[in-house]
């Protein structure tokens, strides 16, 4: 049998069949995987009845209910003390930081000294007036006109009048000194920066020794202190102007923070901003200028640890029932 084994007639065909079988197997194994994969991390998505229903999506930023308040200073000067730290809760009127008040205190001391001086002058003038009046009364009580010379009476009258006017001028100086002291106290009070509302300190950008200019809080300078009422937190959601007509205002929205899309929070409607504004860049790219306009909707978040002021969020809002989908012309 073995000697009859022919290369061309037996080995070659069998080899070819084996070869083609291996080739087929390799081809089938080597076919590329073109299937779609489920995302490894959850992207933001609409849930519940919004999942397959009419809805409007928007992106937004978390902000305090009072919006962020950039605290400014009424007067410029050196910061002597900062009394709050980021994260502190402060009551309305609580002192936030102090600006150098030495000059104002010196003027207060000056005014106080002037008050003392004026008071002394008043005492001196009223004594002199009293003496002059007594003398004048004495001269006038004399029955005999020859007992005292006429010139003596005139002198006594003049002394009384001079003492009276000295007293008036001293009183006026006292009033001036008192108002100067009040002005110095107001100055000192203005150099003490207080919380305008009760809320949470979000950022402190001043340190003792730094100079604060009165332009602080705007322009290129960072605000000295940022605070806001963080209970509750609000979100400001941007809705594309083309979708404005579809939004069901007043309905609660489903909010997910960026990076934690598995968290779905129901936020209650607060208000819609009356003005449609150009979309603010959320990407911090200076080069980004986008000409789309957006409607800003404000929603209140329930108490949650997941949100922080300034955080970006994705929002899904129910659309008006039966509102036709808009197409861009």
């Amino acid at each position: 049998m073995l000697r009859n084994l022919s290369f061309a007639r037996q080995i070659l065909p069998v080899g070819a069949l084996i070869g083609v079988a291996i080739a087929v197997w390799l081809i089938l194994v080597g076919l590329p995987d073109r299937s779609t994969a489920a995302p490894a991390e959850q992207p933001p998505k609409a849930v519940g009845k919004l999942a397959n229903g009419e809805r409007v999506a928007g992106a937004g930023v978390v902000e305090p209910a009072s919006e962020v308040i950039d605290i400014g200073s009424a007067l410029s000067g050196l910061v002597t003390d900062v009394l709050v730290r980021p994260g502190d809760r402060v009551a309305k009127g609580q002192v936030l930081f102090l600006v150098d008040a030495r000059a104002a205190r010196a003027s207060l001391d000056q005014a106080n000294a002037a008050i003392g001086e004026a008071r002394a002058a008043i005492a001196e003038a009223s004594t002199a007036q009293k003496t002059a009046r007594e003398q004048l009364a004495l001269y006038r009580s004399l029955a005999d006109p020859a007992a005292v010379s006429r010139s003596e009476v005139i002198r006594a009258e003049g002394e009384e009048a001079a003492a009276t006017s000295r007293l008036g001028s001293a009183r006026a100086r006292l009033a001036a000194a008192q108002s100067a002291a009040a002005a110095a106290r107001t100055e000192i009070e203005r150099l003490t920066v207080r919380a305008p509302i009760s809320g949470e300190i979000l950022a402190v950008n001043v340190h003792p020794g730094e100079f604060v200019a009165t332009q602080g809080g705007g322009g290129s300078n960072s605000p000295f202190i940022q605070m806001g009422e963080t209970n509750p937190l609000h979100v400001r959601v941007d809705i594309d102007e083309n979708e404005i007509g579809r939004v069901a205002l007043g309905q609660p929205a489903v909010i997910s923070p960026r990076g934690a899309a598995e968290l779905h929070v129901n936020a209650t409607f607060v208000r819609a901003e009356p003005q449609v504004v150009p979309k603010r860049s959320l990407t911090n790219s200076a080069a980004e200028r986008v000409d789309v306009r957006v409607l800003q909707l404000i929603y209140a978040l329930p108490p949650s640890e997941a949100f922080r002021v300034g955080q970006q969020i994705d929002a899904f809002i129910p659309a008006k029932a039966g509102a036709p989908a808009k197409t861009e012309g």
Partner: protein, 378 residues
Amino acid sequence: MLWIAIRMLTGDSQKFYGLLFGIAFSTLLITQQMTIFVNLVERGASGVYNAPEAEVWVMDPVSRTTDVSYAMPSTALDKVRSVPGVEWAVPHLRAQANVRTADGDLEGVAVIGVDDATLIGLPKRMATGDKNVLFAPDTVVIDDVGVTRLFSNGASPLGERLELNDQRAVIRGIADAIPSFTSTVVLYTRYSNALNFVPGTRNRLSFVLVGISPGQTAEGVAARIEKETGLKAETRKEFARAGVDFIIQNTGIPTNFGITVFLGFVVGVAIVGLTFSLFLRDNIKQFGALKAIGVTNSRIVQMVGVQAGLVGMIGYSLGVVGTVAFIKGFGSNPFFKGFYIPWQIPLISLAAVVVILAITGFIAIRSVLRTEPAAVFR
């Protein structure tokens, strides 16, 4: 009787191997060229296949492929998210940029910005490193073909610093991606980083990648997105097809490979036809003898059929094995990265082999059928 036919065939080893060579050669030529052609034009769809999560791609109506796109305003993302049937939608940025390497060389790269939070849009697998490295600041992930182009000296690119639009970019991983048609270096980074890496124009969002809700079809959702947003939405399959069509319409590749495949066919017909005719003519006396002992014409047709079948089977097998060996052998070459043999192509070459043998067999057999038994004595 059929065994006699096979003995007759293999008896003349010169012509037998000549026939095998002819069939094997044209099979190899047809299969291999078609394989390279299909893989090459599929490179046009590599961008689509490299984002395995996306079931629908949304783009500006004038965008054509992953590389020929026009950016949309950033609120397009929210518009797409508003469409029912869309389970999720994430931004996707694709742009060209110039990168300055540590040596100071300039190299054109494609920058792909994937979703910040979920990294949707990255290729399925990483060659080195973990996908999460992208969460580190200024990180880019380079594709494996890009490594060979940007770091030709074999040094590891991990930790290398690049300069993109005056920004620092650090390579922290290598993605296992299908190369693009032009084999450009591809840098994957997060969307917010990509905005800084690519010099800015007004609108930046190239694509919105969409996942569809359970129970929806990709086609239905794509149609609804188009209707409600006015943007163009294509399913993964359609968009891959658009990439392939773009290559076919804008390059000479189909003509080139078409000619080669046709030549393979012609060479097959010529060699096999000639050899087969010669072989049958040489054996005309044997056929005459068979006819003389009463073998019918149909029996002779069967014998020739068996001979052709054996030649075809062995030759075809050798050709296919050769192609597989070729593709596997060059698999490590970056040019052939991701090449595969579509299962349809061996069937097409099988059909071609059958046609070649049918044509040549038909031509060759006519003389045998006309043979008189008396031919034995001539």
